[in-house]
Symmetry: C2
Subunit: 743 residues, 2 copies
């Protein structure tokens, strides 16, 4: 953009925090306390009440702006398209939940009715979501396994396995809804922030693997008991491969044909998206054909194919959830609640940004919570949204949840009247349809090399989440993934790249001294930069790096000096040393034995005290031959705090200790570019005392360096030259500038 160089001139006083505060009065701002926030939150007036009402029933908001003529047609078309898909997916996903297919139709109906009134998203399609169905299925097969004893729960006795499973599934769904409602009421919808894209991608990929494995038994026509708990996927695969020879060829062939056809047509749909008015509803077509063929050739009796079987016609009376199931499944229901909400919210957000309206996370939580609790009472299982259905609803013209309502009506028609038509459908067809839809989720694996190149920690999160979710199960995997994700954040700020800075000659810019050749490092000063917050987990790393950078440990130097002082005192007492004009000088007298006094280790850590000595010892000058202390070749240490975004109480303590240690070996320490908020915090925590003062804090690195150089000007000729040079240069530029501006 710009290639012309422009000059730059600054001329002002050197500002320490004290000087700055003197010149520029800070406005005292009253920060709100927690109590104020609570009070504000609890204020009640008519306007707030009205807003609350509107936010609890978003349907009022969008119904008032509903443009009947322009939106209704789109909603109807979208509703019908989605309705067809809903029926298919409802049947297929109920297999994932280990439930009879017809309950999937309930899931596509009841939750939608409630969401219509409570939901803030106008585009998402409420209903079953494969990952959730699978997670519910894991609980169902754990509590009501295919073989073996049912969990010890009162209320399940005397029922068929299917009935037991339905009760378990609806109870888990109720509990999940309860969790969602509670989170909504407590306004903690923000927790989905912690589910980063990477985490969700790894998690859903693992879910796709689980779904694939769970559908294999339908595609191959095998009987495999449901496993649950860690490593269940391995056991399932083992069971499948053990009996692979018993594969039902009819199931396999039907599935393969359907998968290939659907896959190809979907690719065609994708490629000619622009030219096709509506994507070909290939899944519906294939289902109808499969139904017909299965009925015509009587697959069930001729080839022992497992079919959908008797559909529950109509609706059943509501049931109360089983509280004992709550207790057994609480640990699993919570991740289900979080995942269900997170998926729906992220999909809803995409469309709300696209269509420019706002959605409210906490209201969405309430909406999903109530939807699921309502649905669970009518035996439907966990509902969220599926990306595929939502995409269809939006792309076929859906503008509001009227479309969702119409799709629910479609499902109702099938449930009430047309269900029997689906009875001859082989379950393998449903399995094949589920599998062929996993492509997108499985293809997320392709992200990993990209992530590895760009951001290693993120890649680690992806891989760990995915592997953990595959091997340990989805709920535990999610917890592990979250833990690793939080750890990577801590890790990134825990081990930052510390550096020693030096001046780019002729400027006020300081850079890592290893990075540039023409860099000027003033003698006797070290500038240390810690580019991250300092807290309990890295305060030792920080002090370690600081000691490494300055080249000595101040505490050790202090101890050596104190030891030397003891020795000097003793030698003076015993006449081995004399005080002359040139300082300390040894005499000829020597005591034979010499033993170190180790009695008082604590004294060595005290500040050096010359009180009882007639002279002050200059530690860097020549000392008597038998006394040696390490040389300290710096007089000042400047810490660049510009990137320190917070200090916790451990960091504060550690910083204070090392600061005092440096002061005691006559090294002055300065902190520059400290955030105003941190400074306030330091005041609050009584960080400052008679040794550590605010005048040791400077506005910029250059302020501190100029202060240091001027304080030690006499010792350092080069600095003076440099400084003069800089001033002359400054004047020259100023003159040029003024001339150029006046031209």
């Amino acid at each position: 953009m710009e290639t012309l160089r422009r000059p730059y001139a600054v001329s002002r006083c050197i500002y320490s925090e004290d000087d700055f505060a003197e010149d520029h009065v800070k406005i005292h701002r009253q920060h709100k306390t927690i109590l104020d926030h609570v009070k504000e939150y609890l204020i009640c007036n008519s306007k707030r009440a009205k807003n609350l009402g509107l936010s609890l029933l978003p349907v009022i908001g969008w119904m008032r702006i509903y443009q009947l003529r322009k939106w209704l047609l789109g909603d109807v078309v979208a509703g019908v398209s989605v309705g067809l898909v809903s029926v298919m997916q409802g049947l297929a996903f109920s297999l994932l939940a280990s439930l009879p297919p017809s309950y999937g139709l309930y899931t596509a109906f009841f939750p939608m009715i409630v969401y219509f009134f409570l939901g803030t998203s106008r585009h998402i399609s409420i209903g079953s979501f494969p990952v959730l169905s699978l997670m519910v299925g894991a609980v169902v097969t754990r509590l009501v396994p295919d073989h073996g004893p049912v969990a010890n729960i009162t209320g399940l006795d005397g029922l068929t396995m299917e009935q037991q499973r339905v009760i378990v599934a609806s109870s888990v769904t109720f509990l999940m809804g309860l969790f969602q409602l509670a989170m909504g009421v407590l306004q903690v919808g923000f927790i989905v922030m912690y589910l980063s894209d990477t985490l969700v991608s790894g998690f859903t990929t693992a879910a796709a693997v689980h779904i694939l494995v769970s559908q294999l038994k339908f595609v191959l026509g095998l009987e495999v008991p449901g496993f649950s708990g860690p490593l269940s996927i391995i056991y399932t695969l083992e069971k499948i491969f053990v009996q692979i020879t018993k594969t039902n060829i009819c199931d396999l062939v039907t599935s393969l044909v359907i998968m290939v056809v659907v896959f190809i047509v979907k690719e065609v749909n994708d490629r000619f998206k622009a030219k096709l008015l509506v994507p070909i509803p290939i899944e519906v077509i294939m289902t109808v054909i499969a139904c017909g063929v299965s009925y015509g050739f009587n697959f069930e009796d001729n080839f022992q194919v497992v079919i959908v079987g008797e559909m529950v016609s109509g609706y059943e009376s509501p049931i109360a959830p089983n509280v004992e199931v709550f207790r057994e499944s609480a640990v699993e229901a919570f991740p289900i609640a979080v995942v269900g909400f997170a998926v729906a919210f992220s999909v809803a957000k995409v469309y709300s940004i696209k269509h420019d309206y706002t959605i409210d996370g906490n209201q969405e939580l309430i909406a999903f919570g109530v939807s699921n609790m309502f649905g669970a009472s009518f035996k439907s299982f966990a509902a969220s949204t599926a990306l595929s259905r939502t995409a269809i609803q939006e792309s076929s013209g859906g503008k509001t949840q009227i479309a969702g309502l119409i799709s629910a009506m479609m499902v109702m028609v099938v449930t009430l009247a047309l269900g029997f038509l689906l009875e001859p459908l082989p379950r393998s067809v449903l399995g094949a349809l589920v599998i062929v839809n996993l492509k997108g989720m499985l293809m997320q694996v392709k992200e990993t090399p990209y992530l590895w190149k760009r951001d290693r920690p993120d890649c680690v999160v992806w891989v760990v989440t995915c592997l953990a979710a595959i091997l340990l199960g989805l709920d535990l995997g999610l917890v592990v993934g979250l833990g690793v994700e939080l750890l990577t954040v801590v890790f990134r700020i825990q081990f930052p790249r510390c550096s020693v800075l030096a001046n780019i000659a002729g400027t006020d810019i300081y850079k890592d001294r290893k990075d540039y050749q023409c860099i000027y490092e003033p003698e006797g000063v070290k500038i240390f930069r810690m580019p991250s917050p300092i807290f309990f987990a890295n305060i030792e790393f920080f002090t370690g790096k600081l000691v490494e950078a300055v080249g000595f440990d101040p505490l050790k130097v202090l101890r050596k000096r104190n030891k030397a002082l003891r020795k000097i005192r003793k030698q003076l007492r015993e006449g081995e040393l004399l005080i002359t004009d040139r300082g300390l000088e040894p005499t000829a007298y020597r005591k034979t034995a010499e033993s170190e006094d180790e009695s008082n280790m604590e004294d060595l850590d005290l500040p050096i005290d010359f009180k009882d000595l007639p002279i002050q010892v200059n530690w860097n000058s020549e000392l008597p031959a038998n006394i040696c202390v390490p040389r300290v070749d710096i007089h000042s240490l400047v810490l660049d705090f510009s990137a320190v975004s917070f200090l916790d109480i451990s960091a504060l303590k550690g910083l204070k200790v090392i600061w005092k240690d440096f002061l005691r070996v006559d090294v002055e320490m300065y902190i520059v570019s400290c955030d105003a908020y941190i400074l306030e915090n330091l005041h609050n925590c009584q960080f400052f005392d008679n040794e550590i003062k605010t005048s040791m804090f400077f506005q910029t690195l250059h302020d501190a360096m100029l202060h240091v150089q001027q304080n030690h000007l006499k010792n350092d000729v080069q600095v003076k030259e440099n400084f003069m040079y800089s001033i002359l240069y400054s004047m020259l530029i100023t003159v040029i500038l003024i001339m150029s501006l006046q031209v």
Copy 2:
């Protein structure tokens, strides 16, 4: 310190990153890859082999410098003092582990023997630690409860309850040692960093409460079964209060007398520390008296007091750990291993700093791992260190682990020959001694008001850890505490205080505009500061705050402009608008119906395209009456990245999106003070393209502001004045400076 103000002058070019790179060539540094690190780690030569040997057997190192005449006496005295205490504590803490008292003597002997050779700390006293004993006890009572069925473990059948418990305890200890050894070999000793002081303080306070409750039954002489799992402390207390009327008065009186006496003498010891040669060994004295009294009055038969009873005399042959116990207790053994190591390491560190030698965390892990595995083979239980014993060892003159070895010998003597003397000791005495030693741990509660004032999140960590550890049990509490602690770190960087900066007139300093009165905010520019790293959990917070700060959402403005453009095009086509010299002007012609074209929502997000229009629309000037777009009153946006210590991949994506959005509504965005490492990362991630360039990155905020002001100089008279003023001022100061220096 300094009150004299010194002047400050800088004069140089304005540096964007591009300009700076042109002037100052950066040295290309090859960063080590992971492979390089591994290679370096695996290099093997004779020196490394020798060092490895020495570091694996630290005993060689300190034995070579052992000063026999000066150190031996101290070691012997310390060894004898600690030996006496070891015996007492061994007996008392084995009650915590729900084991017969004599096994505590084994714990004070076997682990020490191994640690002597492998440990790097010269001062800590190896042996039982109350918290660990309690944690082992929790596993023991879970697997072998007082009443009810023993866990289904082969190898425990046909043994007495005590034998079963000893096997469980030693197996858990073996597994714990295995975990420690593994962590040491894998060099992951750094994980103790995550156990912050606050966390440890909250955790040990909770442990003290558990210990107190567990000893109540001995003090009161009641029979209470051991509970385990969450809320077990409540159940235990319930059981105790239910049968409080059955209290054994003899036990209670003995305990109270001992507690009062020990407490008072300990206070005296503390107060007259300087005057006393050795602290009064009141615990040993009271034990001896209690033994005598109990034997003399035959407490066991006369008052039904439970006494220590038969001591195992001598040692038993080693046993192999039970692998089934491993499986049952793996989840609990890991926290035991971590806590055991963390406590020992933190105590060892204190003394290593005091006595100026280095300890090696990973070698300590190996030492404790092997010690515990060795000890477990001889039926001792989890060993670590106790602060009290270590303090005695160091203060009574112990210099090396020779003292530890001597104390182990003392314990051996008691085990082999003098054990029978302790048999009449009432268990309530041991309980009373444990309780009276809890004072320090319980007093940590006093920290909380201090923490609340200084650092709220830290206080929350303390309280949550403590409550969770009390209510859920120590292992689960530790996990919960760790989770909360990591969350607070993330939380602190997640919701930082963003601010809009403005210039302190006459300087190059920029501060929060709300904080100062005399602050100059150039027109048309917003400076936004995000004082924390940006990552997946706060990128939305960041963009939200940015949009709030600038006062408009660039995407919405872009859409409105594109919509307006569509309208203008349409109106031009239909003759409702005309292009005149003054821009667009409406004609008299009006079409009646007006409908918005909503067909192509995606198009609205594209950059504004004036291609097919004969003129460019100036969005901030007067537009035709029926067309309105929001005014954008800034032309530049400067982001201060000085405190951004890392950007993850989500942040990168989000930043790029918002940057492009701003560019499309003609707002230039600049980033200043970006860390060199982040800049490198941006290059790696292909962040830059034909819209976002490195020339938009500036060295300092002032560089960017000068660049912006000069680019928009013509539009803004005040800026020019300000700039001239600054230059004149600069010249004046320069002249004064030169004069003052030459004087």
